[in-house]
Amino acid sequence: MTAEEIQGIFFVECEESLAAAEQGLAACKAGTQNADTINAIFRAVHSIKGGAGAFGFGALQGFTHTFETLLSDVREELVPITAPLVDLLLGALDVLSDHVSAARDEGDAPEDAALIAQLEAAMAVNLGGHGPAAVETPAPSEPNTSDDEEGFNIDLDALLDDISGAPEPAPAAGWILHLRPHAAAMRNGGEPLLLLRELTALGAECIACHTADLPPLDELDPCQGYLGWSFRVPAGVSEAQVRDIFDFVGENCPIAIGEDAAVPPCQIATRAAQGIQSIVAQGMAALGIAANQPAETSAAQVAEQISADKHTAAPLAPASAVASAAPSAPQGQSIRIDLIKLDKLIDTVGELVIAQAMLAQRLSGEAIGDNEELTLLESLTRDIQESAMAIRAQPIGSVFSRVPRILRELTASTGKHVNLVLSGEGTELDKTVIERLGEPLTHLIRNAVDHGIEDPAERLASGKSAEGTLTLSAEHRSGRIHIRICDDGRGINRERVLAKAVEKGLVGPDAQLSKEEIEMLIFAPGFSTAATITNVSGRGVGMDVVRANVKDLGGRITIESEEGKGTTFTLTLPLTLAISDGMIVKVGDQTLVVPLTHVVESLRPEARDVRGLGAERRMLNVRGRFIPVVPVSDAVGANGAVRDPQHGVLIVVDTESAGQAALLVDHIWDQRQFVIKSLESHYRSVDGVAGATILGDGRVALILNVDTLVASAVAPLREAAITREAA
């Protein structure tokens, strides 16, 4: 594994640690914490510190050091958990998150001096408690960038520099610590000498290196851990401080405390044991059992037992014993998979779906489409497709977990305190959707707090609690995911929205709009009713971007609002972007797909419903409102297409930039799910085309980009209208 790969894993684990700490601090904020909660927060921060030190992220390591020192005091109940302390810790978590981002993106580390001073001021030693003296923050060290197959990328230069500046040897008084790093402590970039460095930084002194288990050179395996150490730790250093050092390596480096305690025993998989392990592995392979880590451990245990009993077992006997005694795989095991490999799998499954559809169509053409095997194949293909998509699925909690920080920042800038209620965090959807959901969700939350939720005084005056409530929920429904952002604020003032829309020329002064249509005006480009422009929202850029982002994801956004009670935005999104719903339509000699997310309705018009506008243009009267008719054949260059709307079908579509329009097609052939193929990666980007798919008969059908198609078709019409008005 290369240094970059190990570093990549470190940053993934940082995200997990930050999420765990956020969750723990949220519990503290709610007053529902227990000892495990504090431990979990401490471990999360400590893990980041350990990795930061190993990779030479000095600023990150320095900050986490201060952060965890305060957390250690909290864990040991030297510092009480109070509301101001939780706020301070949450602030520190935000800065820690910025530090991680800076380390990952090679950006500038955030300014943290003031916060570090606050954290230090809150420590037990500065509160007059009995905690340990503040340990000096480790000096930042330069990252070690060289590669190594074994992942040994620890900056030992910095380590040794630190050692040379280590405190003077501790006085004889103190307590004894024994430690024994096992082989696993040296894997994946682990280096036990770093642990010794941390001990000496606390003032501990090495009083013995235990070499009794060190074999002669011809029996030595450098990957095993043969050495043990005894340290004398100064009396002023607490046991918890020392245990913190070893939290990161866990069972890979057991410790024992006390003069009378024995040095933890050496755990070497001897060559004899390794030989038995090999036999066991062969036996397990014969039995069809994977030789995974637990099995290896079991093999070592068997080897030890055999060695102790001085017996020589027949090769397959231990295999059987291990096979029956091997613990079942623990629940929740996981592996990390390169996203490129996963995307390749999804792509191949898409091909499988297409191939299955082609086979079904071919057999149907031969009048043998109705058979049991084909039904089974269809069912299996669907299962494989769902399983493959499930691998990419992630819980939406990863997006929701960013919301507390957004609210903290909004509280600081607006003075509004908002309680957050989350539900359905475990609801899963595709990773790509998750990644692109963050921005629109952030806009909606900022909008809800800035515009929706009232100031505390206004809330109290209207009989509400001073603190607002924002509810985020997610659930699966009808093969899509519904995300609700609900506030208990003032709701949408429709009269004001309509007046503003008229003022900005978005609608005519005599427009007759339903209440839903008025509410949807807030998504119009440039719309804003904010009396003053704030840095939170109110520039009229945001809600239109939200709608565009949601639509790009193949989703819809709807509003429910009650004045004085609050507003709920509902995002309805597909579970995946790889497969979508669409109408398969015929236009002349072309077969095309219209994504269903744009479709409002389809109709075959009467002669009176279509009016001419100039020589070429026609408008469709939809219940008293005229929308342009866009012949799709003009855009795609189809031959032999229907030109008269009465002989074809009009599909009314909704677009971002050009409002509604009616697409003229010959007829609607089918409505079904289709696998989306990128045109850009296989050919090049084409205006009016969003991608392609392969139909059951093997033909390629283009997927229309309804937004750009309609925009380019109606633009000349609008320009002509503007010219007429000007004249």
């Binding site: 060289s146 190594d148 197959e149 074994e150 040994f152 620890i154 900056d155 030992l156 230069d157 040794l160 050692i163 040379s164 024994h178 790093p181 040296m186 280096e191 036990p192 000498l193 010794l196 460095r197 000496t200 090495c206 009083i207 013995a208 290196c209 235990h210 070499t211 009794a212 060190l214 074999p215 002669p216 050179l217 011809d218 030595l220 450098p222 990957c223 851990g225 043969y226 050495l227 043990g228 150490w229 005894s230 024995a262 040095v263």
Partner: protein
């Protein structure tokens, strides 16, 4: 006299690579390990060096400042660099 030179990066991979060379060199008489270029030293390499000293006490090691500091940190400086290493080993 055979001299084996340690690389600047004395990590686990370097220790594994060094092992067969050391074993082969033991059969050829006096051995000197030139560690004057060693800049980054981990436990795996210290184990190899210590085992070499126990296996063949006449083996001499020329340390760099970094190697000496790493050995001091691990409590192995006397074992690695003193003239009679077997007397210095602490046995638990």
């Amino acid at each position: 006299m055979t001299t084996i030179t340690l690389p600047p990066r004395c990590d686990r991979a370097a220790a594994e690579a060094l092992l067969p060379d050391l074993a082969a060199a033991f059969g050829t008489g006096a051995l000197t390990i030139d560690g004057s270029s060693a800049a980054q030293v981990g436990q795996a390499m210290l184990q190899v060096l210590a085992s070499a000293r126990f296996t063949c006490p006449s083996t001499s090691i020329t340390p760099s400042r970094d190697l000496r500091e790493a050995a001091r940190l691990a409590g192995l400086d006397q074992i690695l660099f003193d003239t009679n290493p077997s007397d210095k080993a602490a046995h638990a």
